[in-house]
Symmetry: C2
């Protein structure tokens, strides 16, 4: 008996099968195209195995409200064919097994909580900073979902005093994502983040925005670990700059763990999401 | 057998005794002076009853970490005699009963969750806006406490375009509390909130700050109800202004309950905190 995991991203799907100790037996990466084309390949992969349960960490927004008629759907997305798509329904139509369903970042947070940087803690936030910004939180072993899943990238943060940029979020202009995600960096500087010099002054501005967000998350949730992943965070020079800005903004107001262990990169590196999906499959199978 | 509740505020303590259906039998209000003087009156009140458990919702910051050596203490406060004061220890020294211990706003959130505006919901936030700003959150019936209790009033929010005010928070300057609590209003306008005309243009600025905060809480926690209490919120003209600003800032990005039922005043009016303290006493007694 195996567990199946799907890390469903906007660009690619990572599918994996693990044994009951969560060792990955096989994995495959599938480009995200239309639902039909993508799922054809997902099915071809999973059909090889006798699965006990499947866990999905999906790009969003998605409906995670179990009382809703559209639970299990990807909701409003510009991605062709996926708008209002019954993802869980399609998987359940093929495999008669329990299906765990959450966001990609919630799955990553859960992976880090159980097997990564937060495995000795009761709580964590996983924030991805890449094409967009999104976050998931675990508190006392539970994924935080209220009326829906969080959209932590769309909080309001003040502009840096030396950054008049008006932001690129089509909904909120200069929300966190509008100011600090990859497309905001590119629009502002006419360069991709990875092409920017690692000593460029801009990184202090980027770190300031991320630190503001981390201070806000800390004030609201008081998590034990803040895990930062995603493409932009491959710029490792950001970590000391973020810790420095966090310390300045927080100004010792509330106690946090030592910042070296509080603000960290994912212990599972790029496998937080798929690992979390497999772990959630196992939870669902109980 | 009775439950005892203490709503320990910076200005006054409200103590109450209820029966097992949480009907308040007797209550007393005691001015907050030194711990010795205040607790002498608290003891005189509770000594009259055979208590099964006591719940405390305290002004903060307080230590709520059960693994900490200073669990049950009021920590760093300028209030005379209360700095590093073992509050739970003093109560337990007098009464050999279980003692529930949380912040005043967590207790108020719990009161509203069980008996007030959120009694039909799984989650809520209670925010008080008065001399300071503080918030407590309930998710799936549990008070949100991670590494410590939240300090929701100290999040960063952008200044209103027409409000250059630099804020009064001694730690963060223009954080939410620094911009929007009572002392910030008074410093900015040289008038107390209650002396300001109800049609003054300033209320739109005040509503804008509160709405920014509510949008941030929504993006991070997705609660089902946002309950606004405290002295400043006695200005009822704020509610429609806050809902309007919330709608504009959120810009339909995530689904919320209808704003008339989402952003509300406390169903228990001024009794949210003491009711929550009594309910938490009962939880502790189980």
């Amino acid at each position: 008996m195996y567990y199946g995991g799907i890390e469903a991203g906007g660009t690619k799907f990572v599918c994996a099968v693990s044994d009951q100790s969560f060792k990955i037996i096989e994995r495959v990466s599938i480009p995200t195209s239309t639902p039909d084309e993508t799922l054809k390949q997902v099915f071809a992969f999973f059909d090889q195995y006798q699965l006990k349960a499947i866990g999905i960490g999906s790009f969003g927004p998605i409906d995670v409200n179990v009382d809703s008629d559209t639970y299990g759907y990807v909701t409003s997305t510009p991605k062709k064919g996926w708008n209002n798509y019954n993802f869980v329904g399609a998987i359940k139509g093929r495999y008669d097994v329990p299906v765990a369903w959450t966001t990609d970042v919630n799955a990553a947070a859960y992976g880090e909580y159980r097997k990564g940087e937060a495995q000795l803690s009761n709580s964590c936030i996983y924030l991805t900073i890449g094409t967009g910004i999104g976050g998931g939180a675990i508190l006392n072993g539970e994924i935080i979902d209220g009326f829906g899943h969080p959209e932590m990238g769309h909080i309001s943060v003040p502009n840096h005093p030396n950054d008049p940029f008006e932001g690129v979020c089509p909904y909120h202009g200069n929300c966190l994502e509008g100011l600090a995600a990859g497309p905001a960096i590119e629009k502002r500087l006419q360069k991709k983040a990875q092409d920017l010099d690692k000593t460029d002054d801009f990184w202090e501005i980027e770190a300031y925005y991320i630190a503001q967000a981390l201070v806000n998350y800390t004030m609201i949730l008081r998590p034990e670990v803040l895990i930062l992943g995603g493409g932009v965070m491959k710029q490792e020079q950001l970590f000391p700059l973020i810790r420095k800005a966090f310390k300045e903004i927080m100004n010792d107001y509330v106690v946090t763990p030592d910042l070296e262990t509080y603000i960290v990169s994912p212990g599972l590196v790029d496998d937080a999401g798929i690992t979390g999906s497999l772990l959630l499959a196992a939870e669902k199978a109980i």
